[in-house]
């Protein structure tokens, strides 16, 4: 499973007027940044703001992007940017004052992360984003009905009979679809988690994603942020 950033993507990012490549970049990296922020103990709202902030930093420094492995990996640089954003938020949180009439059920200071090492949080977020991307590849390649059967039985661990009822298939077809798509997922994952934990890891990765409403709001906010440029 490759985790290299595509050099052409980096070089194309220098063109600020290319909405397709920026959309592609955003779709690829927002789950990593968001997942990292959440693992570092940020709330959903703060994590959304961090994603926006990181995307803005990347956009402002796009002229410096060129593919040069000697200078280090892009993902490490992105990690530094994200780390600074999270740390910056943490530093200024004590200065925050809750507005009168605010929601007192939400703690003013967010809980510290359970993750002792920021590097580990970044690696985990990156791993989850890659696993989610693998599931996306399987989704795009397969017949919609087969994917629904796969999602319900493998990713959500529902009984095949229920999956068959929902997807309008026979149970035999559900078993076939599950076997076929699972084999494709394993093929894409290569040596990763060949100890039989692949499905469990994928389930964890999908569970770490925010709800669709948050994804939609994030996409809208990023779109609005980038538009003036």
């Amino acid at each position: 499973m490759s985790s290299r950033t595509c050099p052409t993507l980096l070089e194309r990012l220098r063109d600020a007027s290319d909405p397709v490549v920026w959309g592609d970049f955003f779709q690829r990296y927002w789950p990593v940044v968001y997942g990292y922020a959440r693992r570092r103990g940020c709330s959903e709202h703060t994590a959304e703001e961090i994603v926006q902030e990181v995307m803005l930093v990347v956009f402002e420094r796009r002229d410096a992007f060129r593919y040069d492995p000697a200078r280090g990996r892009f993902r490490d640089w992105l990690h530094c940017v994200t780390f600074r954003c999270v740390a910056g938020r943490r530093r200024c949180r004590s200065e925050r004052v809750r507005a009168r009439g605010g929601d007192w059920s939400v703690p003013a200071i967010e809980a510290e992360s359970d993750e002792p090492r920021p590097d580990a949080a970044w690696e985990t977020a990156f791993e989850h984003a890659l696993l989610t991307a693998l599931v996306d590849v399987v989704r795009r390649e397969s017949n919609p009905r087969d994917f629904v059967a796969f999602e319900l039985t493998v990713l959500q661990e529902r009984p095949p009979a229920e999956a068959a009822r929902i997807a309008g298939m026979t149970r035999n077809l559900v078993y076939k679809a599950r076997r076929k798509l699972l084999a494709r997922l394993r093929e894409l994952a290569g040596d990763y988690a060949n100890d039989g934990r692949l499905c469990q890891q994928v389930r964890l990765a999908l569970a770490s994603l925010p709800e669709v409403s948050i994804q939609r709001s994030l996409t809208g906010r990023i779109d609005r942020t980038m538009r003036p440029h």
């Binding site: 009905r145 999602e151 229920e162 009822r165």
Partner: protein
Amino acid sequence: MDHTPADALPPSANAAPDIPDFELVREIGRGGFGRVWLARNRATGQLRAVKVIPRFRTGTADPAGREIVSITRLELNLRRQHPNLLGIHHVGQTPDHLFYVMDLADDAGGREGGQTPGYQPATLQHRVAGGPVAAGRCLVCARQLLSGLASLHEAGMVHRDVKPANCLFVDGTLRLADFGLLTEASPQVSRLGTEKYMPPDGRMDARADVYAAGLVIYEMVTGFPIECFPQLGQRADAIAADPTLSALLRLALDACQPDPGERFRDAGEMLAALEKQLCEGSPVFRLRRRAVVGLAGMAIVAAAAAIGYWWMVPPRVHVNFVTYPFDATILLDGRALSGPGGTPLKTPCTVEDLPAWTHHVTFRHPAWPDLDAGPVDFARTRQVVASWEYPPAEPDEEQPLPAPVP
């Protein structure tokens, strides 16, 4: 009608054009080739939506020409206005613009349509942006969308731009809008429309409209953007628990098959499939199906019993019983045969209606000891003859009794 801003129009086009009989109040939507205005009729004061398309454009595209061709097709092919297609009340032109007057959609904010400054036309896109649509409403919208689309397909036309932004609500009823890409169904239809809603095979015929309608239904059921299709995520629980949502999802999956041959032929067939699925999932249907299955089972059991009876119960035969001397009573399996009045039958006689089984036959005569004729198979034997010596043998003659003759 796409309400997303497009940069296809030049900045100079922002000024309100002069349209006969209508005062353009403000812009409420913008597409790639034209703008939609909230307009007030100068004579009646009635609010309408007016789409204005510039007649002269640079480049090869002639949007106004295409629009007028599409509307002409619509008017020619549809003999009467369909309740699920946006009504077009008037088409006109000025030296610079083509315009047409349409129904005004409800306000997305739920206020009185068009009267408030914050008026935004209510579209299905607004509904799905707020999350999944409730099952009942989802079903109503799906039916209305498919019904409107089916009327176009029946008239031999394809819409080519089915998407939530083009589904407007007028008085709470969904109406399919934006007929700018409407064309007659033919294999050579060009690939135009909204990229995300186009089928992978690229053929923009009625099956492409079916594909787009499937995606719209998926968006309503899940509340997810179509980039997620066919993912169910956290909506799987709600879909599994609700037969209506399950039926709609199955319909969307059938409509969005990558192979066009596996999709519904047109929206009419898709609507019929929806009604069939709902009917099969309803409690009344399930009850009726159980009753039918039960009755069928009973009929099968009854038929099996009849066949078994026919095989098991032997045919009835008649048998002659003759003894010498006569007047012996006949015992079948130890029971005396009797006539209609209950009087015992006496030889010689013919007994009707005996089962063609093997019976043990014995004759009893008052002057003689019982004569055992042994087991006799009535399926093969129609006459049982037995005799004692007549007159009864004297003890000194020692003549053996004759053996019964089967």
